[in-house]
Symmetry: C2
Subunit: 539 residues, 2 copies
Amino acid sequence: MFEIIEKDGLARIGKLKTAHGIIETPNLLPVYNPNIPLITPNEMKKIGMNGLITNAYIIYNTPELREQATKGVHSLISYDGIIMTDSGAYQSWMYREELEVSNQEIVEFQDLLKPDIGTILDIFTDTDSHEEAEKGVETTHGRGIEALNLRQKDSGILWAGPIQGGQFLDLVEKSARLMSELEFDYHPLGTLAPSLMSYNYKQVAEQIIVARLSMIQSRPLHAFSIGHPMFFSLAIACGADIFDSSAYALFAKNDRYLTNMGTLRLEKIHEFPCSCPICLKYKPKELLKMTLKERQCLIAEHNLYVTFQELKSIRQAIRTGRIWELVQTRVSAHPALLEAFRYILKKYGERLEPYELASKSTAFFYADTGSLDRPEIRRHQMKMQNLSLNARSVLLLVPEYPLNDLNLKFKRYVNKILEEIIEKERHLVQVAHVSPLFGIILEDLQGTYPLIQNEYPLDLCNQIPSRSLQVIENFMNSYRNQFSHIILYDPKDFQDPDIIKYNIKLQLFQQVVKNYESSGTVLDNHEHLKIKIERIFKN
Amino acid sequence: MFEIIEKDGLARIGKLKTAHGIIETPNLLPVYNPNIPLITPNEMKKIGMNGLITNAYIIYNTPELREQATKGVHSLISYDGIIMTDSGAYQSWMYREELEVSNQEIVEFQDLLKPDIGTILDIFTDTDSHEEAEKGVETTHGRGIEALNLRQKDSGILWAGPIQGGQFLDLVEKSARLMSELEFDYHPLGTLAPSLMSYNYKQVAEQIIVARLSMIQSRPLHAFSIGHPMFFSLAIACGADIFDSSAYALFAKNDRYLTNMGTLRLEKIHEFPCSCPICLKYKPKELLKMTLKERQCLIAEHNLYVTFQELKSIRQAIRTGRIWELVQTRVSAHPALLEAFRYILKKYGERLEPYELASKSTAFFYADTGSLDRPEIRRHQMKMQNLSLNARSVLLLVPEYPLNDLNLKFKRYVNKILEEIIEKERHLVQVAHVSPLFGIILEDLQGTYPLIQNEYPLDLCNQIPSRSLQVIENFMNSYRNQFSHIILYDPKDFQDPDIIKYNIKLQLFQQVVKNYESSGTVLDNHEHLKIKIERIFKN
């Protein structure tokens, strides 16, 4: 039912087959409330919508709609595309009301409505009590079992088993595991709205990543309530496949205009920074002169255009192995996003590593200190902890130069020195490059992704990134005893116009020299290096 | 002629009046080559073009066009909007050809063509020789004097006096100064193309900033050859008002599709990540099936849409005081841009400070270590170097907590301790908050922008930003002798659920405690603080 086409870390392109068509993921299902329709489903489809979500509980609770339930939800809202129904759990939280429906009633009601995806009645776990949250998780699980027994078989409905747990990550994990064991087709993750409302993207991102790592990977993960395009790419990099939201409409009602960098208030917009049909046709001033209802619809249309545009950007990034590069630009728009990005990579970088592609056709771009925790870098560091180094005599530590051409020149220069003296014993010298991005790169590994295909700002080589220093320390601790000699070659005599032009200072390497000068010999002149190597190999 | 409407640092919204209308700046004049027209001027106007640039030298060198010169350039290319003409300097560099025209001839020829803006024949200074570049600057200046004497008076043409100097910043400064002394209406900055071609955005940004700071501020600064939207915002923050470029067409010819994050190759695009009319109408696959000519036009149209969209985003950002926030997101898309951003702010942050608005309605957003060099932060640091502190007895150093609510709670907590003991002498205690963003914030200054209106990722308070540490050191060196007592209050007894929830560690403050424990008294308990203060004031 869910076919995974492409992967980039936890992000993926998938195709979910439903009775009324295929949803290409990542995607967003706009919330359609039949009682307060703003844009018709068919209009939304023209804007790029692939499917929508509406609420079985609202239909159930609205007598004139409920009467028509037997016609099916597609006829009820006049839309023959993909429709998911939610069950009322969110409403019970949002409006603090006791639901006038049981799990059994809402499941049976959805069997009448025949949506493409139906949802059991879960428990929203917005609580500071672990006990209460755990009860919610267990009740949701129990209702899952009940629902799967109750539902009509072969109805064509895909059933969604929500993952709950709220702020308690152990419970999110437990819930994801429990719900995964049941025969659901689809897992929405609940209780994200409270954190979203307080810009606590860190919390939301972590809930997503924990759910995703704990559930069956072959099912789609739907993150309930995420609707702001500026957060999409990070949420998808954390493992979300589908969102649903009424943000496009709710924001529009308050004259709020979405962009992939944040929200603008209509009265503060002088020119629309967008090329969608609405923004090319109208000026902000013209909208302000319209009735509230008229402009709400237009802003909602723009909000949907920008929503689907961002999803296209994300799918394009996934297909080209650049999801993290896209995330890096989006998180730079808001400190709360940047914080979530850094936090997630620091905490989960190692667990994300196995999901990372072995090789990509595009370069790794550094953008932030958080970039040093990306899975591509973690993988290299993990590799460095499990080396089976051949017995060698000499470890020769040298700097990595930034700029590919310059580094190539330097590598040739070092190699020439070595080959001239020791020719046949060249393999007994392990050359290791001190790199601001990767910590240590062994010359033998240099061909592998992304050790060469990467770009970072030159000033990084004039800094001392603490993660890179840590990697070097780990390497030295693990392997220094395998070498009879350690030489640190600080190539002060290696001159190149680019070194002056770009003010290259190699601070990280200077720090390494300081840290290990007592463990080895520091040389800053290639003649001395030659003499030293000669002496070692003549003995 | 050039009216400045709004400012945000060196970036500004301006209106340049010309014979055929007003250009709103920042803006881009697409290059229109009458010999290889891809999109007609009127079509470009529909896409959002405000004016174009064409080449007087090309017209001069094409017999059938040259014959019609007396009709004027507007009739020649069938466009009655704003037209600027360039003079051939770029062609002489690009195609390494001797120009078959003199300054006098091309100026007189432009007087016939009657563009809205005409350009004298400058010297492109792409050379590694300072002497040669200086000659180019001086010749260009001489030709400027000549041209202003030769040109028809009251022709309605605005005359552009190019600034040259290339990689030599002293020459860019000299050229800007010399050309500013002449009665030009407009200054283009030349010799940017070589650096642009090698992604050396640092060099280009620096040339722009030096030119802008050295020229008459009331004239527009045009940066020749900049055409990639991902670089626009940084170039504008460095002081550019107008660009011109044929990038939209040149990139389209090679199936390259522009975005504000970089360039995509058509064959690698699965979905167009854009909502412009072209991208909504066609799929990448459909374009690939068209003839080269057909799809070139369509990609060029998209490239123009995205170009003008980015300019709208930038103008919107300037009007709301958020140019640096926009720049921060754009530079995160490419390490070479990030490097330029950091470099420019580190080197020129202090010189940019006087141009910064005193107050903004929007918050300062931290996005990168480069953010700490922004002029808003520099201003605060400069203020801290020139304080006239009243005679006080005690300097009380305390941490700043992240999260506005938490910090407010802490401030009240400290204040309560002080007021309880010393009431009337409260003003004799100078409370200073150690802040990861600003270094030191004195309680008296806390109301001023952007000391409260700022957001940074919480993890910044668990780091030790070197710039902030430097500011604290400067402050302590300058003022410690003005206080009879220094107390460092490390509030280990100040408890709040948020401190645990958000894992707040205050590393910078811990470092300050380490650095200054010998100069003052360190207390980590409010009871001890009370006793200490009491003792001081009872003596």
